[in-house]
Amino acid sequence: MKALVIDDSRAMRRIVSGILGGFGFETLEAGDGQQALDVLAEEPEVDLACIDWNMPVMDGLEFVSAVRAQRHRRGMTLMMVTTESEQSQIVKALAAGAHEYLIKPFTPDAMRGKLELLGLVEGKDLT
């Protein structure tokens, strides 16, 4: 499984990549939505994108909309991973086509729970 971690904070990219690596993902990184689209153009087989909301150049919501407009990327799972926690924003992201939404800060266990919901890792008792 391959995951693309999109966040303008290098430290956060490293944390998210580390957690995903622990669940067996090979990870790629991008610092904003546009960079992420560039990475995807080179790497067609990405299963999951973990997307920060606030980034320069192209933000996470714009990235989600751009990917959703690409018919051949329908199989890619999109999860917002962001500090944005207003209900209206979560609704907006889901409406734009995000499949899941994980609010920072989160534990590796919470990430695992979301990946289980998305069918990307095997089910395990969360408790």
Partner: protein, 278 residues
């Protein structure tokens, strides 16, 4: 930090007498981690904090504090839609089947036993609410626990960001919860669906039965074989003839009471009254 042997013996004995839950040797870490906050709340610190706390408890014989100890050791943190498979089986097969027999979803009665802080009954409620359209489902679910403290939290229905992240799909979160500061609160509709009550599994089942589905997940593991048998016998009397018992993912009735019939529904296993049932 290690617990004194007589501290563990006293605490495990107290918990067994009050709740029938067995704390086997090897669970010292559990006693230590659960009682440390109580010890700290009384200003006890250092490596012997829990031993000091239990020594004072024994000297005082304070019943309220005894209850707190039992509660601290019998409380479990749970996640939303824990194990996922029973919920998928419920919504795709079990509930439609029961609705067919009972006439409506509103007539289906569910008991969530050992419900802890409410994630299980609210998960069931979310699933039912999403399946019900505009139907009124108030009071469909009875949820019980031994601990008054967790029941207060469950009734309140307020969860931290960390708690809400555990297994709850984002679309359900926005549909059934609202933000209150840094917390998320279960909707009034869901809260009206669940009636919380304090209940010891060794006592007769709570009012509201007989039940169509009883959730008894990840709780039998705490009891000895004889107590497990006795709990299952009580449960059986309050489960409708065509009802379903739901156990934890790693649990089974096989070695406890083979008269239950295991039924595979999708990837989940449920249990029903077998031919030899009373």
């Amino acid at each position: 930090m290690s617990l004194a042997a007589d501290t563990f013996t006293f605490v495990s004995d107290l918990v067994r007498r009050r709740s029938a839950i067995q704390l086997e040797p090897g669970k010292e870490y559990l006693v230590e981690s659960r009682l440390l906050p109580l010890a700290r709340s009384l200003g006890m610190t250092g490596d012997t904090a829990v031993d000091d706390y239990v020594r004072r408890l024994r000297a005082s014989a304070d019943q309220t504090q005894y209850e707190q100890v039992v509660e601290a050791l019998t409380t479990n943190e749970t996640s939303w839609f824990r194990d996922a498979t029973p919920f998928a089986a419920l919504s795709s097969q079990v509930l439609p089947e029961l609705i067919g027999r009972r006439g409506s979803l509103g007539a289906v009665r569910i008991w969530s036993a050992a419900c802890s802080t409410g994630q299980e009954p609210y998960s069931i409620a979310m699933m039912m609410a999403d399946a019900s359209g505009t139907q009124q489902l108030a009071g469909s679910i009875i949820a019980t626990d031994l601990s008054a403290e967790v029941l207060d939290r469950a009734r309140e229905g307020r969860y931290s960001q960390l708690e809400i992240n555990r297994g709850l799909p984002a679309p359900m979160m926005v549909r059934h919860f609202s933000r209150e500061g840094t917390m998320w609160r279960v909707s009034d509709t869901l809260r009206r669906m669940v009636t919380f009550a304090r209940h010891n599994l060794l006592d007769p089942p709570p009012p509201g039965g007989p039940f169509d589905i009883i959730f008894l997940r990840n709780v039998l593991i705490y009891f000895d074989l004889e107590t497990k048998r006795s709990i299952l016998a009580r449960i059986r009397r309050h489960l409708r003839e065509d009802g379903y018992l739901v156990l934890g993912a790693t649990e089974t009735t096989v070695s406890i009471d083979p008269t239950w019939e295991r039924v595979g529904v999708g990837k989940a296993s449920f249990y029903r009254h077998g031919g030899g049932g009373s």
